[in-house]
Symmetry: C2
Subunit: 327 residues, 2 copies
DNA sequence: ATGAAAGCGCTAACAA
DNA sequence: TTGTTAGCGCTTTCAT
C-alpha cells in the first residue's frame, strides 16, 4: 500500500503537488498532473482518509441515532439522510440505542472523540440533558422527535394537526366513540397528537372519554394487541381506533381479526407513519404519511450546514392523510 | 478542546505518560496516574480517535453491506454484528447498496481508503470479482449469502436441507401440488433451495411440475402477489406454496386473502426467514428460522479475527422449521 | 517509572 | 506553478 510520499517520488514531484492533484486544485500544470496520475495508477495508490481526517480535524461521518432499526418508520428517513450525506461526501453511522442510556453514551462518545462530526437524533427517549450539553460543542439536529430544550434545531411535522385531521376523518364517517392509542405523554409528540385528538372531538361536541385513551410505552405490534384487548373489553366499545403508529394499528388489526371483529365495518382503524406494511395488511390501513425521505435529506442538510458553522432554522414539513380500506 | 499536550503540561508529565494512562498500561505510578487523571478531568479532555487511528493505521470501523435496510431479514443479523463489534471496540457502518454497483463502489472505496478495517457482505448481488480483488488486501467475510469463488470465508445455513424439510412438511400434510416461489437462480442459495425442493418431491415420487416453479428477481411483497396471481390462474392450481422469503409469502397471503382463498385450508403457505411480521399476519406464517443474531455475532467475530491476521474457517449454523397457522 | 523524539499520511502556509 | 516544511494528535521505541 503506497502512500503519498512514494507517489511523489515516482512522479518526480513533491507531496504537495500530489495532494493538489488529489484535491482537484487547478493550479497544477496538465503535464505534471499527468505524471502524478500515472504514478498513482502505477502504484495503485489510494489516499488514506486517516491522514486526511487528522489533518482536517474531521471524520466526515454523521451519526444517526434511532431507538431501533427494526421500526420501518425510520427506513425512508435514513435513506434520505444517507443519500444526502453521500452527495456531500459524508458517511453515516447508524446507531441503535434501544433506548438504553449506556449504549447511547457509547455513541455520544464517538462524537466526543471525533469519530463523528455531528448527530441526527431521532430517539424520543434520548437523554436531553446530555444532548444539550453536547450541542454546545458539537453539531446536533433533531429529526421527527424533538425537545424544545437546549435550542437544538429540528425538522418535524405538525403532529397536532395530523392527529386532528385523522380524528376528524373518523368523525365525518359517523364515528363518535373513538379510541386513541397513544405513546407515553412524556414525549412531546404524544402530547401534541393527543391535543389534536381532543381538538377534533371538542369541535364536534363529542365528550372526551378517558376510558378510550390508552398509553403504551412502546409503539409495537404487541402493544397494539394488548391495547385492543383492553378497549374491546369495555361495556361501551369504541367503533374506531386512532393509533399513533402503524405498528400499533397492525397489532390492533390482528387482534380484531382474531376475535372476528370486522374492519372497518365494526371498528375503523387509522395508523400513523405509512410504513410499507400498512399497505400490505388485510384490509389495508388508513394512515398519516410523513414526508420521510425529505425529512431525512432536510435533516442531513441542516446538520452539514451546522458542521460548517452556518446558522440553521427549524423546519416543519407537510403530512398527508392516506385513506385506505380500514376506514 | 484540549489535546494530549495540554493534559501533559497541566499534569506536569510527558505526553507519553498521558498516553500510558489513557491506554491503561500498568507501568505508571499511582501517584502520577492520579495527576494525569486530574488534569484530564480539569480540562475535560477527550482523546481524539483521529490521531490514534492514524498512528495505529486502523479505523475500528466494520463495513456491513446489505442490499436494503428495509428487509427485516437483516435486522437480527445486524444487531448481532453490532453488539459483537461494540464488545470489541469496533463500530459498524451499515451500507445499503440497493444492488447498485456505483453505490457499492462508494462503500468499497471506504475500505480502500482506510475508513473501514473490513467488510461483512450480505448482498447476494455483490460484484464478486471486485470482492475477490479486495479480499487480497482487506479482511472480508460473507454472511448468509455467499459465493465460493475467491476463497472468501462465509457463515451460512444449509439452504438445501432447509428447503427439503419445508417441502417434506407440506408433503406429510398431504400436499402433492406444491409451488415454489424462488429467487433468480444466478444466486447460489436459490439453486440450493430448489435442489432441496426437488429432492423432497422426488423422495416421495412426486413429479416436478415446471409450471409450479416461479422465479422473481426480488423477494418482496409485490413479487409475492404477482407470482400468486400467476400460479392461481393455472387450470391445475397448487394446494401449497413454498416461498424462499417471508415477504414473498406475505404477498401471496395478501393475494389469497383478497381472492377469498382460505389459508391453510385451500392453499398452505410456507415462508423463509422468520421475520417479525411473519408472526403478525392472519393466519401466522409457517417459516424457516435462521439463527440470525448468532449469524451476526459469528460473522463479526470471524471478521475481527481476520483483521487481526488469524485464519478463519467457514461456518454452517442450524436452521429450524417453525410450524404455525398457515400450514 | 518516565521522557524525548520519531512518525503514522495528509494538507496548507509560505517561499521561491 | 511547484517545493519545503510544519503540524494535526496520538503511540511507541529507545534512553535514562
Amino acid at each position: 500500500m503506497a502512500n503519498i510520499n512514494e507517489v511523489a517520488k515516482v512522479a518526480g514531484v513533491s507531496v504537495a503537488t500530489v495532494s493538489r492533484v488529489l484535491n482537484g486544485q487547478n493550479v497544477v500544470t496538465p503535464k505534471t498532473k499527468i505524471k502524478v496520475e500515472d504514478a498513482i495508477r502505477k502504484l495503485k495508490y489510494e489516499p488514506s482518509m486517516l491522514g486526511r481526517n487528522l489533518r482536517n480535524s474531521e471524520s466526515r461521518v454523521l451519526l444517526v441515532l434511532v431507538p431501533t432499526i427494526s421500526n420501518p418508520f425510520y427506513f425512508e428517513i435514513i435513506k434520505g439522510i444517507e443519500q444526502n450525506a453521500l452527495d456531500h461526501n459524508y458517511n453515516i453511522l447508524l446507531c441503535e440505542t434501544d433506548s438504553n442510556p449506556e449504549r447511547e453514551n457509547i455513541y455520544f462518545d464517538l462524537v466526543r472523540k471525533k469519530m463523528a462530526d455531528g448527530i441526527i437524533s431521532m430517539d424520543p427517549a434520548v437523554n436531553i440533558d446530555t444532548l444539550k450539553e453536547l450541542s454546545k460543542n458539537h453539531a446536533i439536529i433533531q429529526c421527527s422527535e424533538y425537545s424544545l430544550e437546549g435550542n437544538i434545531p429540528y425538522v418535524t411535522i405538525d403532529n397536532e394537526d395530523a392527529a386532528y385531521r385523522a380524528v376528524k376523518h373518523l368523525i365525518k364517517l359517523g364515528h363518535e366513540k373513538i379510541a386513541l392509542f397513544n405513546s407515553n405523554e412524556k414525549y412531546l409528540y404524544a402530547r401534541q397528537r393527543k391535543d389534536g385528538y381532543v381538538k377534533a372531538l371538542e369541535e364536534f361536541g363529542i365528550q372526551v372519554n378517558p376510558d378510550y385513551m390508552l398509553y403504551t410505552d412502546q409503539l409495537g405490534f404487541e402493544q397494539g394487541i394488548q391495547a385492543t384487548k383492553k378497549v374491546m373489553s369495555l361495556k361501551d366499545r369504541p367503533t374506531a381506533i386512532f393509533s399513533v403508529s402503524d405498528l400499533l394499528a397492525i397489532g390492533a388489526l390482528k387482534e380484531l381479526n382474531n376475535t372476528g371483529v370486522e374492519v372497518p365495518d365494526e371498528v375503523a382503524l387509522i395508523g400513523f407513519d405509512n410504513i410499507d406494511f400498512s399497505n400490505m395488511t388485510h384490509p389495508t390501513l388508513t394512515t398519516i404519511a410523513q414526508p420521510m425521505y425529505q425529512m431525512g435529506t432536510v435533516a442531513s442538510t441542516m446538520l452539514i450546514n451546522k458542521i460548517n458553522g452556518e446558522d440553521v432554522e427549524n423546519k416543519f414539513l407537510n403530512h398527508e392523510l392516506l385513506i385506505r380500506e380500514s376506514t
